[in-house]
């Protein structure tokens, strides 16, 4: 792609690299860092000033050159998405921030919004200028009360100082934000469902095309990005596309956040250069597994599990390597599954989540994900299953793949399919014996 930075010889792909510096998360966990004064003191809104002095198209090109891809899960190149916006035609245009963060295993956006809300606001201003939108919408999941309050306070501070509103930062550009609260529905994270929800409708996904750039919020041209994508833009503008592209791999550039949970010694959110191995994330950053582990989920529960072995731990955190391994990098939510955890029980937990969150719009998902899949698992776990039931589950998830209206059904079906591939013995043991290979145990340590 023209303008893309290629052939950087020595990219940063490890936290051990002395050139790596925590950037987006530098002020997460720091008392008092969320106020406007604190933000301005550390150079806040300088990047927005710089971006506003550029032509919108230049900002788009800069983000394209950085190689930044969407951090909401799908990994679509951010600058390319921005370039899909039609030329201004007098209608209102919107930039929307997807802050619905509900993919199990993910919590990177919440800490950013709670502890550094101005970083997100600045990212939205820059994105707004790039796509020539004068209104931004932040759709925060309803449970994130603290993040909502912090953002609301930050917006008020910014308005009071002319950072949001008419003629932002003394320019002739107008930009303001609408903060909107969700109400407990995972499907609102799907971008078109989010737009319906924002409009006060039930959050069913919309048919695409038209894509949001053509007809998004209220049918107006819209660009939607994840919180972390937008926060990354601030630093791409501040430090340059080369700085960003010097981290990661050819396929996946820049920084991401490994959110490690499950059976590890030090669960937590760690900012990492892409291309880092899962071994470094799990062993070095998160302190290694507590007891033997048998699998890990690389990017949130919609990503199929990988065996906890040397070959897979040495894989780099990047979109392509994960796709080749039959899974996804997703949101970066890494969940480590201990050896003594019944995999059928663990997968039932995942299935139950997607069953609960299915919106009921399309038949494959409503009947397959929301109804029959959990029932089959309940039968197995109650000790009433047969080996044919295991085959039936496999058959069902194969039929579900790619047949539903939106990717939610795949998010349930694909991990189930992979768990059968890797741990079929556990399913069959349960079907034969009526009891799991690994009985439930008390995991509440404290």
């Amino acid at each position: 792609m023209s303008g893309a930075v290629t052939d950087t010889v020595d990219r940063i792909t490890s936290r051990r690299d002395p050139r790596f510096e925590v950037t987006l998360y530098a002020y997460v966990g720091v008392e008092g860092a969320h106020t406007l004064d604190a933000y301005l003191e550390r150079g806040g809104y300088d990047a927005a000033r710089r971006a506003l002095a550029m032509e919108p198209g230049e900002v788009v090109d800069l983000v394209k050159a950085s190689g930044l891809r969407g951090r909401g899960g799908a990994g679509f190149p951010a600058g390319v998405k921005w370039s899909f916006m039609p030329p201004p035609d007098g209608r209102d245009r919107y930039v929307v921030c997807n802050a619905d963060e509900s993919e199990p295993g993910s919590c990177k956006d919440r800490y950013l919004m709670e502890d550094d809300p101005h970083q997100l606001i600045e990212g939205m201003m820059i994105a707004g200028h790039a796509i020539q939108a004068t209104t931004g919408v932040i759709y925060v999941r309803g449970e994130y009360h603290h993040a909502y309050e912090r953002l609301r306070a930050a917006m008020e501070e910014a308005r009071a100082r002319g950072i949001l509103g008419r003629g932002v930062l003394g320019t002739d550009v107008d930009f303001d934000l609408i903060l909107h609260r969700g109400a407990g529905a995972y499907i609102c994270g799907e971008e078109t469902a989010l737009m319906n929800s924002f409009e006060g409708l039930r959050a069913n996904p919309r048919l695409k095309p038209p894509f949001p750039a053509q007809a998004g919020v209220y049918g107006r041209p819209t660009t939607i990005n994840n919180v972390t994508t937008l926060a990354s833009v601030v630093h791409v503008v501040a430090k340059g596309a080369d700085w960003f592209a010097a981290m990661g791999t050819d396929d996946s550039k820049g920084i991401h956040h490994a959110q490690v949970s499950g059976a590890v010694a030090r669960p937590g959110v760690f900012e990492v250069p892409l291309g880092i191995t899962y071994r470094e994330i799990i062993h070095d950053l998160a302190g290694g597994p507590v007891g033997p582990a048998k699998a890990f989920i690389p990017g949130g529960t919609s990503c199929p599990l990988l065996p906890f072995d040397d070959a897979h731990l040495d894989l780099p955190m990047e979109y392509a390597a994960m796709a080749n391994a039959g899974t996804m990098m997703g949101t970066g939510g890494v969940i480590v599954i201990p050896q003594d955890q019944c995999i059928v029980d663990a997968m039932y937990n995942v299935v139950r989540f997607y069953a609960h969150e299915s919106c009921g719009k399309c038949t494959p998902c409503r009947e397959g994900v929301a109804t029959w899949l959990p029932k089959m698992y309940q039968k197995l776990l109650a000790g009433l299953g047969t080996p044919e039931d295991v085959d039936l589950i496999e058959d069902m998830v194969k039929n579900l793949r790619g047949t539903a209206f939106c990717p939610l059904a795949d998010a349930a079906a694909w991990p189930v399919q992979k768990s059968l591939e890797l741990f079929r013995d556990e399913y069959e043991y349960l079907a034969h014996h009526g009891t799991p290979m690994y009985p439930a145990k008390d995991r509440w340590s404290a």
Binding site: G29, S102, E103, H146, R181, E199, S261, A286
Partner: protein
């Protein structure tokens, strides 16, 4: 549900709040105010009654059925009052691996409630919920708007004891990983500044 009292309209004495909410959205997007209006009622009254549904429908020029249709899609709005302390235990995978099943059992035993129930006093409701976006500080217990992270047995005991005295303690707001922080609790009252 049968409405015995003829309720005074909720927004009657809150014109500024109503205007502020309606004013957030463009004229052509008035319906966007639906969820915020439902939220205000839910938060104040711990459920959204039929009378409130009708009132909100009136404000937005919708039918009560349209409002009910949206309300029933989301898990935050309740048709029956929840307790003053609405205990929501995350039951999803990371929390399960950190003991959410046992945490739920413990709450059930201690409160004498099963998920979905409210006690006779209307003090506690217990509910199992899905991933709260706090997986690295599992297990998580949300009480009303507040997250309590990495809760152990002693934390639960202390929390329940405080709530019996009508106190909702400040949470520790754990940060795990980069810039690890396990407390102290943020100063009280900072929240709604």
């Amino acid at each position: 549900m049968i409405e015995l009292q003829t309720a005074r309209p909720f927004f009657e004495d809150k014109p500024e709040l109503l205007q502020e909410i309606l004013g957030r959205y463009p004229d052509y997007g008035r319906r966007s105010a639906l969820m915020p209006l439902l939220w205000e009622v839910q938060r104040a009254e711990r459920y959204v009654s039929e009378a409130r549904i009708a009132e909100i429908a009136d404000i937005l020029d919708l039918t009560a059925t349209e409002v009910r249709g949206v309300m029933s899609f989301y898990s935050t709005y309740h048709g029956e009052p929840v307790g003053r302390y609405h205990l929501q235990v995350c039951a999803t995978l990371s929390c399960k691996l950190a003991g959410a099943d046992q945490l739920t059992d413990y709450l059930e035993d201690t409160l004498g409630l099963v998920p979905g129930e409210t006690d006779a006093e209307g003090r506690f409701s217990l509910q199992k919920v899905e991933c709260l976006g706090s997986c690295t500080t599992a297990p998580v217990l949300q009480v009303n708007d507040t997250y309590y992270e990495r809760v152990g047995r002693a934390d639960v005991d202390a929390l329940l004891a405080a709530m019996k005295e009508d106190v909702l303690p400040e949470p520790a707001r754990v940060r795990a990983g980069d810039n690890e922080r396990y407390g102290p609790a943020a100063p009280a009252g900072e929240e709604d500044a």
